[in-house]
Symmetry: C2
DNA sequence: ATGTGGTGTGAGAGCGCTCTCATTTAGGGT
DNA sequence: ACCCTAAATGAGAGCGCTCTCACACCACAT
């Protein structure tokens, strides 16, 4: 184990109490902002804390209070995917924004392939009071275990939302994708293809459903579908397959901005002009939508606000707020740029 | 505070001990893999643990052992910057790779503007056994406090590396940038400009120093310098300034791949062909170097390996390994692609 | 029989905090 | 003067674990 390179020991509550000439309990009250301490005592205790540069020990505190004041963000994806997609950046930003207003801290658990087990142990070991889960797949069974242990809020409708007792924040992905695809129909496109997200994720499934629904309503073919994995490279490959199979498409609905960057690359490479030859509508309205040489028309979802809402929901759950709604469905809107 | 939505209480060591008919101490030994327990006892205790689905409580453990088995990665940048730059993704990946082999967990602290204080409190509250710091700036005084509290390993030479008792992993940024700039000289460019990183960061300063050194050796002008902030947008603006001030440049050394994407955008926009009109050499060899339409010639640094090395160094420090070297300088190499 | 030296196990004292009570103190009311 | 109440404080029992000892036990040698 090792003796740890010698460090000056941190001051304890006990020491502060001695310094201030009061009991441990009183110092604890001051630290926790209890109203029932005489003002002058508060002052002297605060001074003692200052003098000793005291910081309460988290382990002791959480052992005694059975709370950790921290929450986890569980992301069942590998690092590359997590860092590669600006969508995650936005969500995390929203989450931290809300958390910064509280005194909870965030624990990022990007649980790729193997350490799924390790992550669960970490969570169950009482390291956090609650969890936020984003980008979960059908196969992610660990979620059920998690929910029996602590409050959980999902980003995106959970795959097993049968009981309706899950808490989650989402957009109406079907309506969102419908607005995007409808736009393609409205501008006169008739042979519309799509690059989908993973079909083991609600966001992937629902956006595909929206696509189909619009085309069926319009009496158009719905066979130009290729699946991808929410990565640029995966979308590029899918786009190649699609162009090979359906060379006649005049429009493309891509289930995320990041994937659209991949698709646009292939389109350029094959000499298909956007939007003239092929109009493209993407999804997310993340920075990826405007980083390229051509601005993307995309279904905008308030990713950052969703992160904020998730954290807010969880915090209220942790505060035993009885009034919290189980689901928070946020609005999407179509943002028109150059690609369609 | 709230009573926490009722959850089945987690089993404790005590309960496992009762279940297995041994003492707490023995269960503790089994859990911690002590060799001095009779094999048959190990079996029965393990069975009891399994039966109760026991997971040790981290708070209690760390209170008693004075260790947390987790380390922090402190990044004094805002979220957007952190998520925007693939360099960070690579480093984090390397860190987690090393940590996954151990039983330490990572705590990501992306400490933007305000919560610097909050971060320090978190760290000093004994939440982690040690810290990794990347992307630190001259003004980041909190680092000194940190070092007096726990072992710290830096990614990149610390700004105050006076005492030489800091631990860090880095590349020779001066030599690295020299190799890149020298290449520009070697291919016959004579009016070479640079977009630098922030000059309050060693990586920014050193890469600029390398730039200057090569040009001075070659008897070329070193005035075509514009400062940026390691973001694509910042670099784009700097490139515009530079082209305005020195329209005659025939080569550009950009201090990071991400910044180079911004520079290339401006170059394209202004109709300067790369590499014909302006040859570009970047730095990092991150995915950003190959994601664009033109492959970047770039100074490759082993970002992921550096993350791995940082974590490795810290873990050895935590294990009281006396033999750890204070600094680990890793090699760079020039990767030739199309941009120069 | 007695001693000697392991080796596995249990008892028990904390780790630094919170929180329930009991106790003290001050302030009315009669 | 008295009692009664309310407010401020302290004493002390844990929270679930680790870790130091002391002890019991079993060879094996004397």
């Amino acid at each position: 184990m090792g003796v740890r390179n010698a460090r000056p020991p941190q001051p304890t509550l006990e020491m502060v109490a001695a310094e201030a000439g009061v009991s441990r309990a009183t110092v604890s009250r001051v630290v926790n902002g209890s109203p029932k301490v005489r003002p002058e005592v508060v002052v002297s205790v605060t001074a003692a804390i200052e003098r000793l540069n005291y910081v309460p020990n988290r382990a002791a505190r959480s052992l005694a209070s059975r709370q950790t004041q921290s929450v986890a963000l569980v992301v069942p994806e590998d690092m590359t995917k997590f860092f590669g997609d600006p969508y995650f950046a936005a969500v995390v930003q929203g989450i931290t924004q809300r958390l910064d207003e509280s005194d909870y801290t965030l624990n990022l658990l990007v649980a790729s392939t193997d350490p799924r087990h390790k992550t669960m142990r970490y969570l169950r070991a009482g390291n956090v009071d609650g969890a936020l889960v984003i980008s979960h797949h059908t196969g992610d069974s660990f979620v059920a275990d998690l929910e029996s242990t602590m409050p959980v809020v999902f980003g995106g409708r959970p795959t097993n939302d049968s009981g309706a007792n899950n808490y989650f924040v989402d957009v109406d992905n079907i309506a969102g994708s419908m607005s995007g695809v409808q736009h393609l129909v409205d501008i006169g496109r008739r042979r519309i293809g799509t690059i989908t997200g993973p079909v083991d994720m609600p966001a992937g499934i629902d956006r595909l459903t929206g696509f189909r629904r619009v085309l069926e309503n319009a009496g158009l073919a719905t066979d130009a579908v290729e699946h991808a994995d929410f990565t640029a490279a995966g979308a590029a490959a899918a786009t190649r397959r699609l162009l090979e199979r359906c060379p006649d498409i005049d429009a493309l609905f891509v289930a995320s901005d990041l994937m659209a960057t991949g698709a646009l690359g292939v389109l350029a490479e094959q000499g298909r002009a956007v939007p003239r030859d092929i109009a493209v509508v993407a999804y997310d309205d993340s920075p990826a939508a405007i980083s390229g040489s051509i601005g993307m028309t995309t279904v905008s979802q308030p990713s950052k606000e969703m992160g904020f809402a998730m954290a807010d929901l969880l915090l209220r759950l942790l505060a035993d707020d009885e009034t919290v709604p189980h689901r928070n469905i946020m609005p999407t809107s179509l943002v028109l740029r150059e690609s369609a």
